[in-house]
Point group: C2
Chain length 338, copies 2
């Protein structure tokens, strides 16, 4: 590693390496286990805190835009800790020459999305960079949330035997953005799944389920999320390809573009890991939000030291009945998807 | 206003217009009064929340770098609400091709600065954009702070007769960055003032002073900060040019570059507005941190409707004894200074 490559931002193996070898050794956390939102305890209150920059290209895509993405993305990160949003910050980096009318549309999208979710943008910042030093508009949103439950939600809470569920069909966001970029003419059917995950999370918590881990399936998609959780556990994870919901239009676009929909970003889908005995109830709740929600696998035991399982803790049982270790791609397939 | 200009990010009149005419009408706040940090009350606790992106060019400048700037800048915004930092988020937008060794140096600077201040970066994000869609490295930091005092610190608390103080000499940061960029060869004497303002603010609060307003003098410098506070008050403000501390090397560089040091960004200087009767004590405290701290003016009454004072609420008594209304420049003098 000498210079930053596009794949360092792709959510795959190179993103993982940049985090593990460069960022975490300098800034922490000391245990090296990352989760979507960080937790703070302050005067007896439990807060969640999460930041994301959005550099999606194009900034308007089938089914959404960078403004909607920036609000739902950061709120979803809070939701993955079971937290409700309290406040959002918004920071814009605008390229010189960007049309103000276009900026207004994005700000209106931010306003509409945050009103729908019920959170306010309460502080902000605007920077301008010269033509050729940006790409229209980059947005950072940072969210503070409040945690009312007493669960420990995160990779460390995952146990062998737990059920692995997804909240809907996969790959729509990444494929919709890439298709729009490649001008495949598939726009009418393929739309981003960008959506707020707070309602299903609140429903799972309200039902008293013992959620072990939640993860929204953004950059790097399902496979990257499973790999990260398994390494954080540490545990293994066995997924069954046939059980993973992927819409035919996503499959078609994936084949044309030559990419794996299971490694593709989603912006309104999550992984839910819970005890086996609660899997049916959890699934029935998820299905009230998306009919395609499915149980896709099971958590296995901690891998033995120096085993293949330790190197590749997630495996995928394919339609041919072969159990493949999941080897993450380096992440260059889908740059600037979020 | 049809397209974004560099001056929209310069902290002058165009920045103000973008905020007042485009951003605030869509996203609020409803009262239109902006302050460095937003306040949240949660379960009886008072929190401050502030975000800033840093796009300074060059990313290493005499006296500091973008990493140190990103940590102190956001902590200073909290300090301006009298808040102590609880946690920081860090989001990087890196241009493809950026040297990892250089990234390591910036991350180490972030780590060192945050350790010195006593706050941790607890959550982060990394995005990569193509060559030509960034400029090396842009950083966003967002800070959460805790407020322990009961004062209302902000433009609305400012009263006629209040004393206006600055915590040190002005113009160093902006001039150091511009000089480095223009390769004026002034580097040996002119260094950025980048510094954490938390210790002097804590000392002012610990002395029981009734602070009415604090404002760090970043983009747009002293004049822009005074203008914004006066409009927010609403009140007028009379400054005396001779009393405003500016170092001879800053004056020299300003003359060469043809810019006003009073409209130049500082990254370790603040305005303190307090009751007249406490001005001496406040000044003596500020002087234990910077000998150049000075009283530079007085708050005047609310301007009459449709008066010149309403259009230009800040005035500057020059060395010639003339009282000039302060008319903000549009902000194009000093692009990407922070």
């Amino acid at each position: 590693m000498k210079r930053i490559k596009m794949a360092h931002g792709g959510g795959g193996r190179l993103s993982q390496e940049l985090l593990e070898q460069v960022i975490i050794p300098i800034l922490g956390p000391e245990d090296g286990v990352m989760h979507d939102a960080a937790l703070i305890t302050m005067c007896g209150q439990h807060l969640a805190f999460s930041t994301d920059s959005y550099v999606v290209r194009p900034i308007r895509f089938p089914g959404g835009d960078i403004g909607e993405l920036a609000v739902t993305g950061s709120v979803n990160d809070l939701a993955m800790a079971g937290a409700s949003p309290v406040a959002l910050s918004l920071a814009l980096i605008i390229e010189e020459g960007f049309e103000i009318e276009y900026l207004v549309q994005i700000l209106e999208s931010i306003s509409k999305t945050s009103k729908t979710i019920g959170v306010n943008v309460i502080t902000g910042d605007t920077k301008v960079v010269e033509r050729g030093c940006g790409d229209g508009l980059y947005i950072n949103t940072t969210a503070i949330g409040h945690i009312a439950h007493n669960l420990k939600i995160g990779p460390r809470a995952v146990c062998p035997g737990d059920a692995v569920l997804v909240s809907g069909d996969l790959g729509r966001h990444g494929l919709a953005v890439l298709s729009a970029r490649a001008k495949l003419g598939l726009r009418s059917t393929l739309k981003s799944d960008v959506a707020c995950l707070l309602p299903p999370v609140e429903a799972l918590l309200a039902a008293g389920l013992e959620i072990h881990c939640l993860r929204d399936l953004t950059r790097g998609g399902l496979l990257s999320a499973c790999d990260e959780i398994a390494r954080g556990g540490p545990c293994t994870m066995r997924l069954t390809e046939d059980l993973i919901p992927v819409h035919p239009s996503v499959k078609a676009a994936s084949e044309i573009l030559g990419i794996d929909p299971l490694a593709m970003a989603n912006e309104g889908r999550m992984l839910v890991i819970c005890p086996e005995r609660q899997a049916e109830l959890a699934l029935s709740i998820l299905r009230t939000y998306r009919a395609e929600a499915a149980r896709i696998g099971t958590v296995g035991p901690r891998p033995m030291h120096s085993s293949l399982d330790e190197r590749y803790p997630v495996s995928l049982l394919t339609a041919l009945g072969v159990n493949h270790p999941v080897i993450l791609s380096n992440g260059e397939d889908a740059p600037r998807i979020c």
